[in-house]
Assembly symmetry: D2
Homo-oligomer: 323 residues x 4
């Protein structure tokens, strides 16, 4: 299912080397001021070009196909299209025979019985996150004044991010990264017990971002090593402010008015320039693979804005349920 949300509903589509990628946002409230300019800032943050990101640079100009009239959302679906332009499909053909370790080449082919578009990862491409970022731009407006901010805090385990990037570039390798996301200004009482807990809904969409392999809230995995007397956050004010925030702003699946704190683990980019020993499904022997496409040395560099968008979409949906 390429849809997320029950109220604020996001439908994504597209492939890396097809005509384009895009998004259709349904359930977006009417009357929100919106123009193509509103997308620039977040799209630039997602864009490649910086040291450590892929040399494939797309214009990423959004075309709003529907849902806007006289500068405001109409309440009808907002659909946005990004054309693909800078594609070099020949890079990818041989990955059918020799699926890249860490990639969806193998699992995707089985999932779709070989009919999936293999060019540039097809529908598995990170390029499809353009739709998520675009939906996030609108979602951020609907959840205002809630503020969502995600930052890359470590690359390859190091806080000296620049050095680590240079290191893996010099090695034709890649690195993972750790992202921290803080949501402030969310009022208490949002979310649900059990299946639509704030954690469930946020984790659902965060794990949809390609490369995310871990999500924790508040103290997260450290909580597993704590005692109750350490972990419990005492209330200290009539508004529900707590002294500590080990719960990450969520009790019983429901926001308590304190900041939501999330850590997100991003694995290293699977495509690396170094040789990798892996199975050749044609010759049925082990073989050596060297990926020569254009890739990011650290995809985590481009993910904070996607994390923000994902969180905004999840909150837009959760908050619609409790107007």
């Amino acid at each position: 299912m390429n849809s997320f949300g029950r109220f604020f509903r996001v439908h994504i589509f597209g492939e890396s080397h097809g005509n384009g990628v895009g998004v259709c946002i349904d359930g977006c409230p009417e009357g929100i001021p919106l123009s193509a300019d509103d997308f620039v800032s977040d799209l630039v943050r997602r864009k490649s070009g910086a040291r450590g990101t892929t040399p494939r640079i797309e214009n990423d100009m959004p075309e709003i196909l529907s849902g806007i009239y006289n500068g405001y959302t109409t309440g009808a679906p907002v659909s946005i299209l990004f054309r693909n332009e800078n594609t070099r499909s020949s890079d990818y053909e041989r990955f059918t025979a020799m699926p890249r370790p860490g990639h969806a080449d193998f699992s995707g082919r089985i999932r779709y019985n070989g009919f999936n578009d293999p060019r540039g990862g097809g529908h598995f491409s990170g390029r499809v996150t353009l739709g998520i970022v675009s939906a996030g731009v609108i979602a951020k407006k609907t959840v205002s004044p809630v503020n969502i901010e995600a930052v890359l805090v470590k690359v390859g385990g190091s806080t000296d991010i620049q050095s680590k990037i240079e290191e893996v570039l010099s090695e034709n390798d890649s690195a993972g990264g750790l992202i921290h996301c803080r949501i402030s200004g969310l009022r208490a009482g949002i979310g649900n017990p059990f299946f639509d807990s704030v954690e469930s809904v946020l984790a659902h969409i965060l794990f949809s971002i390609p490369g995310v392999k871990g999500v924790e809230f508040g103290a997260g995995f450290a909580a597993a090593e704590m005692k109750g007397s350490e972990h419990n956050d005492p209330f200290i004010s009539p508004t529900g402010e707590t002294l500590t925030n080990n719960a990450g702003g969520i009790n019983g699946g429901i926001s308590n008015g304190n900041d939501i704190k999330i850590n997100i683990a991003v694995k290293p980019t699977s495509s690396i320039g170094r040789e990798q020993h892996t199975f050749n499904f044609e010759t049925r022997k082990m073989d050596v693979l060297k990926a020569e496409g254009r890739h990011d040395a650290c995809i985590a560099l481009r993910i904070p804005v996607i994390v923000e968008a994902a969180a905004a979409i999840a909150l837009a949906d959760l908050m619609s349920a409790k107007k």
Copy 2:
């Protein structure tokens, strides 16, 4: 929303101190042999009674209300009821004035404008997981021969689990725990790119379990510190077997045929016997709270079977989508 799943759909209901808790499972295939006896083993694993669990012991006898005929599921909804018997509601009344740190007392009251049932946590109670475990029993049958096994590997950071339990019991405190879940026998090709990735769907339901604050797949948070050359799992056989399993059996959101590996962080039980300094919303001053109800010193002791059930439900749903 107290529902999970699109195909194999689980609806839970009930409160800790009301008439009972239960579950309605819709979309369960017909023809699965099922009797009340099938629930015993998992319900016993969930049950309290062991050292470190609450002294409130319920019979936990499932009554199958519908959906079974002549020992087989009929394809109609299977609904199961557990009566509440051993309730002592007077324990909980004062938590309205003085919400317990770490509990849903505060956030839940705001969420439901004070109409929620506060007795024993009401619908926020861990007792509602009886429905999840019951649905899991059926889900395990539908995903067979896929095998799901969850074990508690650490309590309070220690692998000497028994000692740590004694330590926190002696301190009137509680401890968190780390659970590992392994899913084997799942064929490649299950799951979807993006919003319904295997990670998304599993994390969604795992974070629905009260107390879960972190979920990671394969190398998880460690992946954020790795290089691509370390993290990538080379294929080594024509069936897609990999040499390492840092991906936790999932590439691009889709199973690759290797074991799914999940770590789940459970926070310490919020209710502790020790005094806690927290805000009194009636006197509007800081005050001292001492929880005297019957609680688990380490709720993580009882959670592995719930993790298994949650994973089974998620897989039953994902596998239905790709028959």
Copy 3:
């Protein structure tokens, strides 16, 4: 799927001759006063006992299992159970070999590969509508002050309903009926263009009622024979009041503030005492069937309250979407 609704969600379960039937209502707002007494009036209207209805009479006492505390809904799922008591299962066994014309005996067996419960129609039984009526009682409260009223206006084509009932009783036959439903007090602006039009959502649930074979809004089928100059409803006041109401209160799928008018066609009860020539799937020859179970001569007599409940559920859902 035994669920209806995106916001106000109704899940039904149960079989005619199993332990019971019931309903779980999720997404019901908190703070609605509710007790078992509130169900009496509508359950009595649905009940059999009147001339032309089945001699199987059940107590139909609702047991509220969850979701109520101190006389108010809590916001957690409200689940309600009706025990089956007055069952005589031997009546139904032979319908496997010789499926009753007009019944789900044949289609249901194929649908569920023979695992469905055949006793009293199993999950296909009209008894399962107890859950719909119960959910309707709550839905009516949530949509208040909207008023929903359904009446049986014709039986077997005649407005002299009593005479027609006697006629078919004397013939060991059954009769269909026409029900009119009027919804007043619904404000303009409810509903959506296209897939969730007021007509779509209402028709969806109305066609879920066993026996309903036709639904029309406003002028309905007569509209197909009209000209625009006749059919168009001129506005006559600043509140949107119209001179005529051929649209049945709905323009472009959205309520316009005038009464919603619906006609519902109910087919005659399939089970009749008269002999019927039909195929015997065991002997593989035509044969004579005589249904001796306890049945309604005109099921339409009992359906108005179900129509009201269905309409209330649909409106509760539509109105939640546009608070």
Copy 4:
């Protein structure tokens, strides 16, 4: 919600005078041969140009944005865009002050607080059905060999359709129409009891088509006037063939293997050239309205292909649930 379906999911978007209209189809199986040519035949049937249809003629060339690779569906979302070209927006501006009787001008403005795009009906336009027809082309392929055929059988109550069209054209009026749809080749066992009965799902999407005000299955409203002995369809063969087909091929919400028969009532086009007396919301007095835009004298002429598409989408969804 602009989405339909749980498995085969159709998301529509667009406005009459905006950039375009389109559709995103998710859950479409991989491996279905598909090219732009496949859409021609059904799009031509939907197109205007014939006597009695609007003089606004669009090229209606579909651009497939995603989901196709090497001539086959990939399993990823298929999205299709139709650009708007022949728009004359000045026709529509005054309908804000003086909403057209029978149109969504009034109800739509309230629904969207005045932010909806009024040009050409905006998102309420019949032009949005291009997306439904396109999705229907794909749905028809997925349900093959099931055959769906809809025909206009009456206009304004007359089977002499051509004469009736000339009559209303000469009067500057419009006419309603009756459409019959027959689905053959659908195997028994598709559908569900209650909420997702074949009737419920089909009626839901059929009532989404602008102008549809009545839907009946089999004998439909005539069934309300029949006796059981007349209405019951006796089985006559081991495959479940019935002598008559008053049930329209559906028993208990489930297909029985006989043809599905549906009648659909379409109201007359609301926009007529004749003067209409209606309320002026600016002057707050009754006034005279004359619609001068380009409209269809009988929209029912163009609806059979939309009915087929809608039925195909519903069946694609229902059949996916029971592979």
